[in-house]
């Protein structure tokens, strides 16, 4: 099929549903979940009912599989509502994608049904470390057969997760294991962080025996997909800032005119709009490649670099356009800016990402 940027009818309906959910449920709850440092059970359940937080095949009791492009559309829309809650919802179920794509039949049978329960499990994928996050080739966590050892940062749900995936290297190759968090994981400390507070994360030390997920191209694709979701969330965050600041530029007057009439403001809006489109297209391009099994770490780094830098820039410009109003918590833009900067660390900050782009291309 030739080049096409039109989502399928199904994807469009899904997007509309999620947009309403984001506008009516997530936006109003954002500050409360932030203060509570936890997304509410009620929201988690509602998102689960829509069936988009964990892709699980119907034959394993799920609401149905969906591809990486759809997964990214979902993440963008939820993050438009609130990046923190969206990170929690997407992150809690993403392990299902790894299991579904790369797990053994026995692993799928054993674990996938729990994602589809009326009271679904919460899980995590532990990738980030003190130094490396998106730079998967530099991970220091070692996997040796069924042994895993390493310290992970930004681990979601550590105290109450029912299942976790830990990613590391085995003889220099990307590898992953399934762990039972109720057993021997050591929560070093909960993370008290700049943004994305609705998604509680911890520093966790792993040194235990675990169940290996078979390595190979399927596992790499699965892990890259979870990495790309960070970029997709960033697109939603950037778009939220753009839209909010645009409306403000129309409504707010200074010197007798709407501030959007001044090019110091309107050119910022134009640049934000370009950043958002460029970011979304980059994420879609990588997702499309993932679905064809062709994406490399370099492709995902490229998309995430574009999306994360867009989120940070739009976050900054959003606050700047609102001026003093942007800095106070009556408006959401300061939150989106903090969320965007935090998100950028959950994958690879721009400089590291760009190095990965170059290395991938040359290698």
């Amino acid at each position: 099929l030739p080049f096409d940027l039109q989502p399928t009818d199904e994807q469009r309906v899904l997007r509309e549903t999620l947009h309403d959910f984001a506008a009516e449920v997530l936006r109003p709850a954002a500050r409360d979940c932030e203060s509570a440092r936890q997304t509410s059970e009620d929201i988690f359940r509602q998102a689960h009912e829509i069936g988009v937080t964990a892709p699980v095949d119907e034959s394993y009791g799920g609401a149905g599989l969906f591809d990486a492009v759809t997964h990214c559309l979902v993440a963008e829309e939820l993050a438009w509502g609130d990046p923190g809650i969206a990170y929690y919802l997407i992150g809690s179920g993403a392990a299902a994608a790894v299991l579904g794509l790369a797990g053994t039949d026995a692993q799928k049978t054993k674990h996938l049904a729990a994602f589809g329960d009326s009271d679904p499990i919460k899980t995590f994928i532990a990738v980030g470390e003190k130094v490396a996050a998106g730079d998967l080739e530099s991970l220091e966590t070692r996997i040796d057969g069924d042994k895993v050892s390493g310290t992970k940062y930004g681990v979601l749900n550590a105290p109450d997760a029912a299942l976790g995936v830990v990613v590391g290297l085995a003889d220099g190759e990307l590898a992953a294991v399934l762990v039972d968090p109720s057993s021997e994981i050591e929560i070093v400390k909960p993370e008290d962080k700049l943004g994305l507070e609705a998604a509680p994360t911890s520093v966790v030390a792993f040194d235990l025996a675990a169940e290996a997920i078979p390595s190979g191209p399927e596992l790499t694709t699965a892990i890259l997909r979870t990495r790309l979701l960070t970029g997709a969330l960033a697109v939603g965050s950037a778009r939220a800032s753009l839209e909010y600041a645009s409306q403000y530029a129309i409504d707010r007057e200074a010197f007798g005119k709407p501030i959007g009439a001044f090019q110091g403001i309107s050119f910022k809006i134009a640049d934000m709009a370009i950043e958002v489109d460029a970011a979304r297209l980059a994420v879609w391009r990588a997702a499309w490649k993932l679905d064809r099994g062709q994406a490399t770490l370099s492709d995902v780094a490229e998309a995430n670099g574009q999306a994360l830098s867009a989120a940070v820039r739009c976050g900054d410009d959003g606050v700047q356009i609102l001026g003093g109003h942007g800095y106070i918590r009556d408006h959401p833009v300061e939150k989106w800016f903090r969320d965007a900067v935090t998100l950028s660390v959950f994958d690879a900050p721009e400089a590291v990402g760009d190095m990965m782009v170059a290395r991938g291309v040359h290698a």
Binding site: P2, G260, I269, A270
Partner: protein, 399 residues
């Protein structure tokens, strides 16, 4: 309907074909053309033979039994990227109607399309023929409403007076399309387009500009001094004078499709610089180069690649919308605002990666840097693109 980044097979074929042409025919001419500020006439003739003088006149895919889907805009941007990758200045020497085509196609009568486009440019003699469009004046660039050239009616004729500048190929064009004010009280809507033929008395070419880059592309100024043309040279004929006749704005809408092509050319230049400096770095810098320096270079190359990929996404998005009849004024401007700047950063980055070899005329990267700058200026400056984009989001707030 589904998100898919794979170009149509016909597009891939064109890309491969044009790339081979650009690599074998354009790139080798780049340095000499830049130094001399022009191409040898034999080379221009060879280019004319190759493209048959009519590269951008009419959509040809249906006529030639090509793909049924409309992919003309995608074809144009993919071809433009490859040609500019070969050499942007040589590309502008490929004979054809240039920007005269979209304006005549948008506003001309069927007779005018035949007389000023098909009859001239579909000629198979292989003689190089050019067309041109002249809008800019010494005192009016982005602010087109300030155009001072006038056209005064005298019976069945028009008398034009004024001065135009920065016009690509005006000095050698068979036809030059100019905008002139017929009724000052109507502002921009009082401007109409006229076709001036080569040799018309009162049409006088002035100096050929010496520029920072794109030196082998001929940029001329000219004056119109009591330049008389008949009524059939007014695009759209007498009907254009009616209140709802083809005005400036409507005609310029035709440029929604040319902006992505210009952005694609910028992308092609940036990609040339990126690829050249990448290959240079990996072959010239020993693995033992200190780690920090090597990482810094890799990071810069990664940024260049990432930004150029996004430039291509934005260009393709705008072209795809045009082909699917989706209004794309905002997206066309996005591509034109983003691609030249991304490409400029790539050219500067390439020079800096290569150091003294980057500024040396032994390599082409210094030339690509000089060439790329104008892409953020002509066909609507980056600032004008941002006016278009922000107005499409905010509405018109400034009046």
């Amino acid at each position: 309907m589904t998100i898919d980044f794979e170009p149509h097979p016909a597009i891939q074929g064109v890309r491969d074909f044009v790339h081979a042409f650009a690599e074998s025919q354009l790139r080798p001419l780049a340095r000499e053309a830049d130094e001399k500020g022009q191409l040898p006439i034999e080379t221009i003739k060879a280019l004319a033979q190759f493209v048959g003088n009519r590269a951008s006149v009419m959509p040809r895919e249906e006529k030639d039994g090509g793909p049924k889907e409309s992919i003309g805009s995608m074809m144009a941007v993919v071809g433009s990227e490859e040609l500019a990758w070969g050499d942007p200045a040589v590309l502008l020497n490929i004979p054809g109607p240039g920007l005269a085509a979209p304006s005549i196609m948008a506003a001309g009568t069927p007779e005018q399309k035949k007389r000023f486009l098909s009859d001239i440019f579909d000629d198979q003699s292989g003689e190089p023929r050019f067309g041109a469009l002249a809008v800019t004046e010494p005192q009016a660039g982005s602010d087109v409403s300030n155009v001072q050239t006038t056209a005064v009616r005298d019976g069945d004729e028009w008398i034009l007076n004024g001065a135009k500048v920065y016009c690509t190929n005006a000095a050698r064009a068979e036809v030059v399309v100019v905008n002139a004010t017929v009724d000052k009280s109507l502002g921009r809507q009082g401007q109409k387009f006229f076709v001036i033929e080569k040799g018309t008395p009162g049409f006088k070419i002035g100096k050929i500009e010496k520029k920072m880059g794109l030196t082998a592309s001929e940029t001329a100024e000219f004056t119109l001094e009591d330049c008389r043309v008949s009524m059939d040279h007014l695009l759209g004929g007498e009907a254009a004078l009616e209140p709802k006749g083809s005005g400036f704005k409507g005609t310029m809408k035709a440029f929604d499709s040319s902006r992505p092509s210009v952005a694609a050319m910028a992308l092609g230049i940036g990609r040339a610089a990126y690829e050249y400096s990448r290959d240079w770095a990996y072959s010239e810098l020993p693995m033992t180069t200190n780690f920090a320096r090597r990482s810094a270079i890799e990071q810069k190359l990664g940024t260049m690649k990432r930004e150029l990929s996004s430039a291509r996404d934005l260009v393709w998005q705008a072209a795809w919308m045009a082909d699917n009849k989706i209004p794309n004024s905002k997206e066309a401007s996005m591509s034109k605002a983003y691609a030249p700047q991304a490409a400029l950063r790539a050219c500067i980055g390439a020079i800096q990666i290569m150091g003294p070899e980057g500024y040396s005329k032994e390599h082409l990267v210094e030339k690509w840097f000089r060439d790329i700058k104008v892409y953020d200026i002509f066909e609507g400056t980056g600032q004008i693109q941002r006016v278009v984009i922000s107005r499409s989001i905010l509405g018109r707030l400034d009046n």
